[in-house]
Amino acid sequence: MSSTERKIKVLIAKPGLNGHDRGAKVVARALRDAGMEVIYTGLRQTPEQIVETAIQEDVDVVGLSILSGAHMTLLPRVVQLLREKGMDDVLVIAGGIIPTDDIPKLKEAGIAEVFGPGTPLKTIIEFIKKNVRRKG
């Protein structure tokens, strides 16, 4: 299949209003260095804007970085919108300041994995490689 040649395409997005982008940028850079094609949305994105970009760029993975505490509303909304747009094959992962108690609920809502503070970059890269469903 020629599709195996295609790089994994990742959208790193910052939903909500918080400006803490250190983690998002470090992860974006690490994924790029790992051979993926990475697009970073910049800050203050609504779930609608993130999904719009994901569709336009036809990404395989959406990585959501959030440290504001608003994850329980914003993250499930991104998954829901992706499904509504027929992009349910996109792997959605999250990172940031997210209490452990919230993680099962986020997974139920369709977030494949939540990477908290201290997660090695390698873990994120491997998770993506293992779980991504590449498009033809």
Binding site: G16, L17, N18, G19, H20, D21, R22, A24, K25, V26, A28, R29, A30, R32, V38, Y40, G42, L43, R44, T46, S68, G69, A70, T73, L74, I97, P99, T100, D101, G116, P117, G118, P120, L121, K122
Partner: protein
């Protein structure tokens, strides 16, 4: 006058050479050192030992002086903490105005000596709670403030002539400061008696914190409006807190934190001078804010270097004459990014080390982080431990009894000098770009910080840096056992209801007229402060006022750099 010279230096040189050759080499052969090279947290290579040789160029009077004397390396005050401890100021605020009011009263009762307000994200970027992008974030990581009505509740029963308040607010500073002034007036406290600080540091928003609203030039114009207004009307207020904290937290090294913060300070001084205001009129009111990270000596050296650099810049570059204009007064917060989510109790120890560095570095006020902040807003118990950490340092450790006790340490003095030297190189580069506003537009500091953050993370991954509980001494079976604070969703309903009520009951014609006057003043490039104050008193909302200013000044579009 240099402290070490002549024969002594010659003899020492010989002794060191002999010691290196005979003792060190022997020792290393038998017991190799842990690493081939040792570096500070910020990557400065450090030697095995420091001696008078490393500080022989230092001139005691020129480079150190006595406490309270130029260049203030040893502290801005003569007696420092022998006279009065630093202000213990814990950042707080969440949920509704009522909850924040209760938290403030609790902290004052527990012995805190100054208030420090955290706002929620919508407030920080100037949106009202009923804005579509705001609803998910009302009251979550700080208190929501839409109108004067909220501020009246927050400070209910707290006499503004008895406390000082620090407000972590930037782009919307004119609005929040005006609200505070208005609350004071209602309590019968005139603005010239109000004490406190607004962050009001627009440049670091582009560099690191990213809660920018306006483009760089108008953003700095508004910063200068606030400084000018305060210098003339609110003389005890610190109208700016030039902040390295966020720069550091975004990934900068200690040198970058120091350099970019001082370069921001230079840009503000220049903006004020352009208004024709004498440097000695406003410079004494400028204040600073730094982070304190884990590398104990590096942090102490950074604080000492910062004081010396600012004093020299103010005197030599800007011709300041008053000693107070040369003072670098600063607040310190222990490092948020140094907190680990793993084994959170360990953070108490990290915070202690960082707080101790801040005190030994001569801070004027201090916030100690709570152990649970890698997870959520701190619980009451965690906040109490954080405050007790400061109280133990103050009352039990003895470090506050002697001014600048680490001066004269060959290592600390060498490192202080090194920090200044490296930071000045950055400042020269920024000057050659045309100053910090231009550097920010080019993305220079943003890029430098992203590089440092990535490099640091790589070092952690490669175990070149050990973080206890994260990449070493990991507890696989760890279960989180700290109570987390949750913000009640009821906050949203309360906040939206109050905003709605204010909009219904205020004199809407008057608000409209005052907003239009504000617009005209902004268009004429006047100082907006008096107009914002009038609008606030008529219960114009934060979002309405910021909306007018956005229409006049435009909005910033971020450079995407990673």
């Amino acid at each position: 006058m240099v402290m070490f010279k002549g024969e002594f230096i010659d003899e020492l040189k010989k002794k060191i050479e002999k010691w290196e050759r005979e003792c060190v080499q022997e020792e290393i052969k038998r017991h190799p050192e842990r690493q081939e090279e040792f570096r500070t947290l910020s990557g400065i290579p450090v030697k095995r030992v420091y001696t008078p040789l490393d500080v022989q160029h230092l001139d005691y009077f020129r480079d150190l002086g006595l406490p309270g004397e130029y260049p203030f390396t040893r502290g801005i005050h003569t007696t420092m903490y022998r006279g009065r401890f630093w202000t213990m100021r814990q950042f707080a605020g969440y949920g509704t105005a009522e909850q924040t009011n209760q938290r403030f009263k609790y902290l004052l009762k527990e012995g805190e000596t100054g208030l420090s307000m955290a706002f929620d994200f919508p407030t920080i970027i100037g949106l009202d709670s009923d804005h579509p992008m705001a609803v998910n974030e009302i009251g979550i990581c700080g208190v929501a403030v839409d109108t004067l009505a909220d501020m009246e509740i927050i400070f209910d029963g707290i006499p503004l002539d008895k406390v000082t308040t620090s407000m972590t607010i930037n782009a919307p500073t004119p609005v929040l400061l005006s609200m505070y002034i208005a609350v004071g007036e209602k309590q019968g406290v005139p603005m010239h008696k109000l004490g406190g600080t607004v962050q009001n540091d627009a440049l670091k928003e582009f560099i690191a914190q990213k809660s920018y609203v306006f483009p760089p030039e108008p953003a700095v114009k508004l910063v200068a409006d606030v400084i000018e207004f305060c210098v003339k009307n609110v003389p005890k207020w610190n109208p700016i807190s030039i902040s390295g904290y966020h720069i550091r937290e975004a990934g900068a090294t200690a040198v970058q934190e120091l350099a970019f913060t001082i370069a921001d300070g230079i840009a503000y001084v220049e903006a004020m001078l352009e208004r024709g205001i004498d440097v000695d009129e406003f410079a004494p009111r400028l204040s600073f804010f730094f982070a304190s990270h884990n590398d104990f000596f590096e942090e102490i050296a950074k604080f000492r270097a910062a004081r010396r650099m600012w004093a020299r810049i103010m005197k030599e570059r800007f011709g300041a004459k008053k000693p107070r204009s040369m003072w670098l007064r600063f607040h310190t917060q222990t490092s948020g990014v140094a907190l680990t989510a793993q084994q959170p109790e360990n953070n108490i120890i990290r915070v202690t080390i960082q707080a101790l560095a801040a005190v030994l570095g001569g801070t004027q006020s201090l916030h100690t982080n709570s152990m649970d902040e890698a997870w959520a807003l701190p619980s009451e118990k965690a906040v109490r431990i954080a405050l007790r950490t400061q109280q133990i340092i103050a009352h039990e450790s003895g470090v506050a009894n002697v001014v600048d006790p680490l001066a004269g340490s060959y290592y600390v003095e060498w490192l202080t000098d090194k920090m200044e030297e490296e930071a000045m190189k950055y400042i020269d580069r920024i000057d050659s770009m045309g100053g910090m506003i231009e550097a920010v537009k080019k993305g220079f500091p943003q890029r430098e910080i992203a590089e440092s953050a990535y490099r640091f993370q790589k070092e952690v991954e490669e175990k070149k840096r050990i973080i206890v509980g994260v990449n070493e001494y990991v507890d696989e079976k760890e279960k989180l056992e700290i109570p987390l604070l949750r913000v009640d969703p009821e906050v949203v309903r309360v906040q939206l209801a109050r905003l709605k009520k204010v909009k219904e009951t205020r004199d809407n014609e008057r608000v409209k007229r005052l907003l239009s006057e504000l617009r005209k003043a902004a268009e004429r490039n006047e100082n907006v402060m008096p107009y914002v104050l009038n609008a606030v008193k008529a219960y114009a909302t934060l979002g309405e006022i910021m909306g007018v200013l956005k229409e006049v000044y435009g909005e910033y579009q971020e450079l995407i750099i990673f």
